[in-house]
Assembly symmetry: D2
Homo-oligomer: 423 residues x 4
């Protein structure tokens, strides 16, 4: 069954409307960046903003437009330049060198985007695409949404390395006033054999979210809100970063090597006040916000310190399904930052921060990758990564799902990561 035959819950947009809306959001995010901002790569894991803009465009050209033998490729060399990791497509520009490609420049990429947009709009509006192609359009839209989040993560990382911290980029309004989180409360969830994962009638999902399958869970409890900055300050005050017995061995080694003493982007001023760098500039820490930019190692150590643990991804999904579809903050280009857990919906499981689970990123029983080169999208990364569930304040609306499996290596901190306790 094709994705487009499924019930697509959050929207009744036509594919053309959907495509246009997604593409426009990318442009909106990039418009606030200068050509200089769009060029460098601040670490191997990150990519230049203009590379993101070109790569998501290449995705449509490679997987949708090239299906039409009459399509005239914009520039054959872009296949080499803007392929990310698809071995089946051929050789690629080395990932660590993405920040050196000053030409094509920002304007060239804009021309490329316009060219592909025109071809896509034409194909979509004249009904030239079959179901398989429409599925790839939907995949390409989701892919671009994922890169919108990556672009924001990467630009935040880049800006944080600049000595003259750039001021507010992505804000038109003031952030919230400091808030106070309530006490941690717990909800019981009944165990037993339960079903998890995305099924064929659930609308679009990535291949790694299925098949829907049975697991056995013991009864468990899950926290009604994520861990907050206020909680984390207690962990720091209680020497959390100095007590080896709280840490996994790899985590402790990483901590010793990096000198971690607080979450990513935190800074303690000379007067002892904590600030954090945001896409709206450096700001005092809000105790009521969920803690952000912690690695899996830190999340795991915190949970041990708190006498709790991280939930498995199956516990998380079961709890989230039980608790209903409420969302906390998703992407608002004028904000790009979590909201306090004390506000309305602030403690909901989907939005604000990605939540580390205790689960390794492994295939579900019966997992089959998608056909063709896009089968490399998810499956080949299933080793030594950790599952995050939920969504973050920079995840585009409509891209979040209760079955969504995000995954990153344990030391990652530039992702918008937090945690929620279980026990």
């Amino acid at each position: 069954m094709s994705i487009t035959e499924r019930i697509w819950v959050p929207t009744d947009q036509s594919p053309a409307q959907r495509f246009r809306e997604v593409r426009e959001l990318t442009d909106l995010l990039a418009d606030r960046l200068s050509p200089e901002d769009q060029t460098p790569q601040s670490m191997t894991e990150a990519s230049p903003a203009k590379w993101h803009r070109a790569h998501v465009t290449w995705f449509f050209e490679e997987f949708v437009l090239r299906r039409d033998p009459g399509y005239v490729v914009y520039d054959e060399s872009y296949r080499y330049l803007f392929n990310s990791y698809y071995e089946a497509v051929g050789e690629r520009h080395p990932r660590p060198d993405r920040g050196l490609v000053t030409r094509p420049g920002v304007d060239d990429i804009t021309h490329y985007r316009n060219y592909v947009d025109a071809a896509m709009e034409s194909a979509l509006t004249r009904g030239a695409l079959d179901d398989a192609a429409l599925d790839l359009v939907e995949l390409g839209c989701n892919h671009e949404q994922q890169h919108q989040e990556l672009l924001l993560m990467d630009v935040k990382h880049l800006f944080s390395t600049i000595p003259l911290t750039p001021g507010p980029i992505y804000v038109d309004r003031e952030l919230d006033a400091p808030s106070s989180p309530g006490p941690m409360t717990w909800r019981s969830v009944a165990g037993g054999v339960t079903e998890v994962g995305a099924g064929p009638d659930d609308g679009f999902s990535y291949d790694n979210e299925g098949p829907r399958h049975r697991v056995f869970l013991e009864d468990f409890e899950i926290a009604e809100r994520p861990v907050t900055n206020a909680d984390w300050l207690e962990f720091i005050a209680d020497e959390g970063y100095r007590r080896h017995e709280l840490w996994l061995s790899d985590g402790w080694a990483h901590l010793r090597q990096t000198g971690w003493q607080a979450p990513g982007y935190w800074h303690r001023d000379d007067d002892g006040q904590w600030t954090t760098y945001t896409l709206s500039g450096r700001r005092p820490l809000d105790p009521g916000e969920p803690v952000l930019h912690v690695s899996f190692y830190e999340a795991d150590a915190y949970a041990r310190w708190a006498g709790a643990r991280l939930p498995t991804e199956f516990e998380w999904e079961t709890a989230a399904s039980t608790l209903g579809a409420q969302r906390s903050e998703l992407l608002d280009p004028n904000r790009c930052h979590p909201r306090s857990v004390a506000g309305p919906g602030g403690a909901a499981m989907i939005g604000n921060v990605w939540e580390w689970t205790s689960s390794a990123y492994l295939p579900f029983p019966g997992f089959v990758p998608a056909n063709g080169a896009v089968g490399e999208y998810n499956g080949k990364f299933m080793s030594d990564q950790h599952v995050l569930r939920g969504a973050a304040a920079i995840t585009p609306r409509g891209h979040e799902r209760v079955t969504y499996r995000n995954f990153f290596p344990a030391p990652s901190r530039w992702v918008f990561t937090g945690l929620r306790l279980a026990r």
Copy 2:
């Protein structure tokens, strides 16, 4: 309940007999190594043989003998030199520098062993140890058995780097004649909610093997023998090491970086014949032996090529429990090498080669580390490692268990690793 109160299945030895026997086997293995052989460290993951001999001795001194305030420590500096990774015990000599410690020398370590042996024998025979101490003796014996296997792995790696390949070290008899494996056959195992892991009445086990708990399994099939060298030669012939679509992304990157073209220790002569380095010297490859020294990446790629997959550790354990307690080759100091799967018991699940599973090494639900510093034995390594089940031809007899969870990082090849398919 103390371990010593449990039913200890494989033996009715007294703790003193058990202790003595384990210690003697270490000496037997080391006796075939010169002082030079016992000194270097061929890679960071490996340790010098004389370090192994001292470290296992230190374990008894640190965790058993020091409980007696009257015990006179052999040399206080040995706590620094021979602690492996126990943060709770204090600072340690840096792991990568173990091969530079020429003093204490081999004879000094022998004196140290004798000193601790005498103190242990005295304590054991005069009944001076309480149950908690006796549990630690049993843990120490298992610990030393584990290091016997490590010593053999490490010495094999060291010898393999020497241009003048040393001849037979651990062999008094000829290895078997080349053999032919039978075709791959499969056994069906029924799924459902099933119990896995070590329970309190199962005799000694490490903390990471418990608690016994329920999991849900779908029906599955498991191969009746491990993958053999003959199988692997087909994989090579079919370009298995050149087809990216068979590999995990990390595995493919690792392959490109290292140039892997065959399992560890394999060598193709100028006339195209394959040999493999063994602890009995370099020998022609026996098609009927289980493939040995493959990384998790290779095992995973092979399974994909074969249209199958690796079993989860729970499938593996359920199958092994169902199939019964038969053993294939365990440690014989005059052989130290697997036997053909075609021979009697050669295809059994426990022995010959460790079998990679698809499971990440994670805590079982309700896992609680052992008390005290020995709680660091297993739990703190539960990230980014992969579970192996079974045992190998260098695993000491009595150390193997159906619930045993061995674990190593995905690229590891100096371990005696193989695989068995599931589907």
Copy 3:
């Protein structure tokens, strides 16, 4: 005696005219680069073009304008961002991170340049600078000229890494047609005790060019033209890159590690034709041009292969003084590439390519660094670098001198380096 009291041979410009002309040339060179082109750093040794533009401006602000207590600093943080290596001035932005500073952007740097230019022009035209300050202006002009050459080297390196080789940047006219070098001829130079180095009456020079002092030279011969591409093709054809006996040990190790098989920027097409990347795009190799982008190791190996040697810097200077003041190609922003040795003046010792000498970069007897922080300009680099003499086709006119001591580490190839034989 102040520099400004000396006879300044090549020009009778006023300091203000001199300042203005130097600054304008930097702008001219940068105008051909997009904001993207000016941002990245293609290797640690290189710097972004916009960094060069800011750093040379900072030099005047730091060392000239700040002498006036009434001067209002443009932005205090620029002292941190644009100090290159002056320890006496304070902490600096880490060199490898220069390519990540997207803000201040290209326009901000232009504003900074304009601000400092206005202040400098005002000070220069109203006669507000004493002799010491005027000396620093002259030093700053030479410093900026040196960075004009570095900017071109760095941008050439950056562009050469881009898969879509950018076309002509710095050319309005066609390069020359292929030419044929004449045979190598030699000139005898008489030895004895001779004077070398810059004296107080020789006009501006860097501190490292003095004091003028006596050395003893044996009689020697020096080639009348530099080694050409045609010569180098013979070296390659004679297996020059495969014969260890021609190479210094460090050079051979470097060759094996890097895989060098030809000078920098050379490429052999599938049909065996050699091309070279230039600031006017990729072009067929001209046999008559001096070889360019060879390391000291290659220059030394070539000389050994040719049965000759590199001259010492004292032989070079003595020969150049004897042979007179003729120049070959110096910086022409519409060309930026050497001319054939066969053309008029093409074989002259000053211009076209820097010429490696056999001399290590060491202080002359009695060397005293300049006063203050600018004393760090040259002296502190006097270890493990090699002296180059002459000038290159990207050296600004008026910056070249017969006593000029350029210096780089032995493996450097992005410099416009060549060689001339002695025997």
Copy 4:
């Protein structure tokens, strides 16, 4: 003219006597080391003691014995194992892996030595060697003497890394009581055109010591004693390791990276007392001894701090020739450590510590490497190394010469290095 035709000043030994004496000293030095001590390699620059013993033996086999077609090579694989860096001889075991070759063991190496000794003695006593071969014997004896010093340097480095610092290895007698150096006094040396280097009638010398040639020197002064520990303590007290303006740029970077705060092997106890590790164990610092184990960077910084400079190698040689042939401490296997400058001969220029000069290690005018593979002995290292003159307290007697050019990279500290000031 053959070396053996020259007047060999320090000895009238026959080649056979000379050979035997040199070989016996190596055995004497190695006898104090256990098999474990002889096996590891504590850093890439160092080699295992048993490797040194085998390599010097290989030198005679490769360059002398193999000239006789009837000679039966001991083990062909040793050519691969024990060749150090002679490309002309063929492939070599990788240098960083020397410490892993446990087989051949110490006893095997002894057998190898005995075998080659017997063949050499036979050839020498029956007069079977022509002049060219006898020259190579002499070269081999010098080579082995050089390795005797390297063996002691390397073993000192290895032992210094062992937490349980081994006690006295090379001492039968007590070291001297602490002493007090006299004040620094200076001697004037007249400049002019002077001859330096080894000439054909000067007895044995390495190829890099010639040809004898003329240089021009200005008048200079040289210190009558080397810099002492007492001097160095003043440098430390005056913040010598914290003042960037004293250091070369590379030296300062090295200091910041390594954290150098004192010479190699120095240690400040909790009570502020300095000790130094010696081949006779750790000992309180003797103020009167010449400072030992300083890098070129430190020597250069010290000289700048002291308002002086290092001498060039030509100044050093001219001064040493002028001052006469007096020796300070040379190798005494029962001591292996410098003597106080206050004692008889303690301040002499040859012995005690190698003295850094300001000269880069470059070929003398007209330098021609020795014929054949031994031409790789010295010449190919002539880049980015620094000349040391004199000799050290571990240099074998008869190996020291006024023209001897020792050379090491600037950061080297495991050499027995010190310095003497000039101005």
